[in-house]
Symmetry: C3
Subunit: 346 residues, 3 copies
C-alpha cells in the first residue's frame, strides 16, 4: 500500500507543507522512521527529532513553529495524535484484520448460525447451536464449543478455545490461545485423601468490549456465571478462576491470577503477576502494584495497595526502605544492648 | 432437557412435597436460582434462602423443619449434597461430555489404535503407533504425537498437545491448550557464552486420575520420565519442568512453577503462584501458601510454609506483622540511641 | 532401533571392552539404566554406579581404572559426555524430529514459498506471502500468519501461533502453543474512564538460534519491532510485552514477565517468575534470582539481584536473615525501652 502525502492529508483533513507527491508506505515513530515512512509529532519535547528524522512525512499541529529546516513533508492537522491513530487503525484493519470469507477445510455445525461479513479461517470449529453475530472474525484453529453466543464485530484469534455455553458481547477480542469457559478447579476432598471432581456446569459471560489476552484462561462457574463486565481488558497469561466477577473498565496486566469467587470492582488496575485470593472483594478504582498478593477485601475506593500481604503503597514503600537496612538496624540494636548491659562505663 | 420434580425425585430416591408435576430444566445455587431451576439446601445456615428462593424445586434433608411457607416444591432425600452432585454429574455428562463418534476432517495414523466408545473431534490429530483406550474423548484441535498411550475414559480437551512417548493413565483430564511432553529447558553453556540445546529424549508419565489445567505445561524428562502420580490435580498455567516428580493426590493451584528435577510428595497442597527451585524434595502433606518460594528440601511431614524463602507459616506471619511496623521500630531505635548518647540529661 | 555395542563404538570412535555384540536400544542415566540401555560415566563422583548399573553398555574415558568387576560392556572414548550427547542428538532426531513431507489436510497459501526438506503437519496453516526456508518443520495445528519469514532449519511446534509480519531466524525453535506477534496490551484511557485499543502494527523479530517456550507469549511492537537477539533461550509461559528488546545469549526461565519497552542485555540470566517493569534497561550479564521484581535500570554489568524491589543478592540475603528474626528484635527493642524508661533501677 502506497499513498501520496497529498492523499494522506485529504484523509486526515490536513494541509501539506512540502512535497505532496512524495509516497509513504509505512507508519513509524519519528525517531525510528526511515524513508517511505509517515510519522507524527504531538509532544513538543520530541521536537528535535523533526529536524533529524528520515521520515518522508510527519503529521504536526497547525501552530508548530519551525526552528530549523525540515527535510520531511509536513501534514498540519489540529490533533496530530488522533489523526495518526486513525491511520494506525486503518493500517491494522487493511493489513491484518481485513479478512473476510471462509477458508477450507473449516467446521460449522449445521445448527449454528453466523451473521454476514464474517471470516472463518481454515481449521476453525463452530459447534452446535452457536449464534454468532455479523462481522465476527474467527481465525484458524479457533474452537467454539456448543451453544456459544458471540456478539457482532468480535474477533476470535488463532487457536483460542471458547467452551460450551460461553456468552461473548460485541466488539470483544479473544487473543490467540486464550481458553475461555473450561472447567474450574473444583475438587471435593474424599475421606481417603483423594479428590473427586465437582462438575462445573456454569459458564463465562464477557460483556461488550472485553479483551482477553493470549494464552489467558477464564474458567466457567461451578453454577451460574464467571463474569467480566464491559470494557475490561485482560492481558496475556492471566488466570481468572471459576465464579470470579470483574467489574467494568478494569485493566489486568499479564500473569496475574484471580482465585475462585473473588470480586474485582470497576475501574481497577491490577498490575502484572498479582495474586488475589478467593472469595474476597476489591472496591472500585483499586490499584494493585506488580507482584502483590491481596488477602483481604477492601471497602474504600481508590486505594493503591502493594506487597504481600498487600497494604497501602506508601506505607509499604517506607517499610521496604527500612527492610533493606535491617542488618544495620540489628547491629545498632546490639550496640545499644551492649552499652545498656555495661551502664557503669558511661 | 426438562424433567418433572417427580422424575427427579425418582432418580435421587427422594420424596416430593408440593407440586410433583412442576418442570425444571437447570441446576442453580439456592440464592441465585430462578424459575425452572432445581437447587439444594445442605447447610442449615442457608435455610433463610429456602423461604425466598425463586427456584421451582429444592432438594432438602428429610428432617428439615419448615418455619415459614415455601413456594418451591421440595424433594426430601437423606444426603441433599450428594444427590445434587449426582445430578450435576449427569447434567455435565449430558450437555458437555456426551460426545461420541468421529468428526471430519480429523487425522488418525494408520498404525494407531483406539478403543470403542471414543470421540475424535474435527481437526484432532493422532500420530503413529498411539494406543488409546476405550471411551477416550479427543476434542477438536487436540494433538497427540507418536507412540502416546492413553488409558480408558480419559479426556483430551481442545487444542491440548501431547508430545511423543507420553503415557497417560485412566480417567485423566488434560484441559484445553495444555502442553504435555514438550522438550525441557536444558541448555549446556558453551565457552563463548552461547548455549547449546541438550537433547531431551525422556517422556512424561501421568498415572490414573490426574488432571492437567488449561494452558499448563509439563516438560518431558531429559532421560527417564517426568512423573505425576495418581490422583494429582494441577491447575491452569502451571509449569512442571523436566524430570520433576509429583506424588499422589497432591493439588497444585494456578500459575505455580516447579523447577527441574524437584520432587513434591504425596497429599501436598501448593497454592497459586508458588515457585519450587530445582533438585529439592518436599515431604508428604506439605502445604505451601500462595506466592511463596521454596528453596530447600523439607523432611518433616505436614508442614505449612510461607514466604520467600518459605519458612513456617506462623513464624512468617509474625515476621510480616512486624515488617509492617518497621518505620516505627526504626524511629524508636533512633530515640533510644539519642537518649543513650545523652545519658547525662536523664 | 537396535545397535550392537560395536556399532556404537564405531560411531563415537571408541574402543570396546567386553561384549561387542551385545545390543542396546535406549539411552539412560547410569543410575537408572536397565538391560538394553546405553549409559555414560563422565564424572568420577558417580563411579560407584559403574559397578552396580544394569545398563548393557557404558561409555567411559580411556584412563578410568576399574576397581571392581563390571558387568556392562564398556566403550572407551576421549570425551564420554560429548560422545553421549552426540548419540542423544541422533536419537532425538531419529525418533522425534525426523518428520518430512506434507500431511493432509493442511493449508498453504498460494503466494507462500517454502524451501525443500520441510515438514508440514496436518492442520498446519501458512498464510499469504510467507517465505519459509529449507528444512523447516511445521508441526500440526501451527498457525503462521501472512508475510511471516522463517529461516532455514527452524522448528515450529504443534499449535504455535506466529502472527503476521513476524521474522524468525535460522535454527529457531518455537515450542508448542507459543504465541508470537499478537497485539500488545496497549490501551488509551478515555475521558469517561473506558479504554480504547491502540492499534499495534509493529512486529516481532527473532534472530538466529532463539528458542521460545511452550505457551509463552511474545507481543508485537506498537510500531517497530519487539526484538529477541540471537541465541537467547526463553522458557515456558514467559510473557514478553510489546517493544521489549532482549539481548543475545540471554536465558529467561519459566513464568517470567517483561513489561513493555523494557530492555534486557546480553548474556543475562532471569530465573523463574521474575518481573521486569516497563521502560527500564538491564546491563549485560545481569542475573536476577527467582520471583524477584526489578523496578530500576542497572548500568553496572555482572550484578546479581534479588528481592522486591530487587537489589544486591548478598545484601538481600542478609536482610532476609534478619527479617526472619523480626519478632525477636522487636522484643529486644521493647526490653531496651523499658530499661531506658526506668534508668534509676540500673
Amino acid at each position: 500500500m502506497k499513498f501520496t502525502v497529498g492523499q494522506i492529508a485529504q484523509v486526515v483533513g490536513g494541509a501539506v507543507e512540502g512535497d505532496a507527491d512524495a509516497t509513504v508506505s509505512s507508519l513509524a515513530k519519528i525517531e525510528e522512521a526511515g524513508p517511505g515512512a509517515l510519522a507524527f509529532l504531538a509532544n513538543a519535547k520530541y521536537e528535535q527529532f523533526l529536524y533529524t528524522t528520515r521520515a518522508t512525512a510527519v503529521i504536526v499541529s497547525p501552530e508548530l513553529p519551525l526552528r530549523q529546516a525540515v527535510a520531511a513533508s509536513l501534514i498540519r492537522v489540529a490533533d496530530p495524535y488522533s489523526a495518526f491513530t486513525k491511520l494506525l487503525e486503518f493500517y491494522a484493519q487493511a493489513t491484518r484484520m481485513g479478512k473476510r470469507g471462509v477458508e477450507q477445510p473449516s467446521f460449522l455445525a449445521e445448527s449454528a448460525t453466523i451473521g454476514p461479513g464474517h471470516y472463518r479461517g481454515a481449521f476453525s470449529y463452530v459447534g452446535e447451536n452457536c449464534v454468532i453475530g455479523e462481522n465476527v472474525l474467527i481465525f484458524p484453529h479457533a474452537y467454539i464449543g456448543d451453544r456459544v453466543r458471540i456478539g457482532a464485530n468480535s474477533i476470535i484469534h488463532a487457536g483460542a478455545k471458547i467452551y460450551a455455553d460461553t456468552v461473548i458481547g460485541e466488539r470483544c477480542v479473544i487473543k490467540a490461545g486464550a481458553v475461555v469457559g473450561t472447567d474450574g478447579f473444583g475438587f471435593a476432598p474424599q475421606p481417603d485423601g483423594s479428590y473427586r471432581a465437582i462438575p462445573q456446569i456454569g459458564n463465562v459471560v464477557l460483556e461488550d468490549d472485553v479483551s482477553i489476552g493470549a494464552n489467558a484462561t477464564v474458567d466457567c462457574a461451578t453454577m451460574g456465571s464467571t463474569l467480566i463486565r464491559r470494557g475490561t481488558k485482560i492481558d496475556n497469561l492471566v488466570q481468572i478462576a471459576h465464579n470470579v466477577e470483574v467489574g467494568q473498565h478494569t485493566v489486568i496486566a499479564a500473569q496475574t491470577g484471580i482465585s475462585g469467587s473473588a470480586k474485582v470492582g470497576d475501574y481497577c488496575v491490577l498490575a502484572g503477576q498479582v495474586g488475589i485470593v478467593g472469595h474476597i472483594a476489591l472496591a472500585n478504582r483499586t490499584t494493585i502494584t506488580a507482584q502483590s498478593g491481596v488477602q483481604k477485601s477492601t471497602k474504600e475506593e481508590g486505594q493503591v495497595l502493594q506487597g504481600y500481604p498487600a497494604f497501602g503503597l506508601k506505607e509499604n514503600q517506607r517499610a521496604t526502605a527500612v527492610y533493606r537496612r535491617l542488618p544495620e538496624l540489628e547491629r545498632r540494636l546490639v550496640a545499644l544492648e551492649k552499652s545498656q548491659s555495661a551502664p557503669d562505663k558511661s
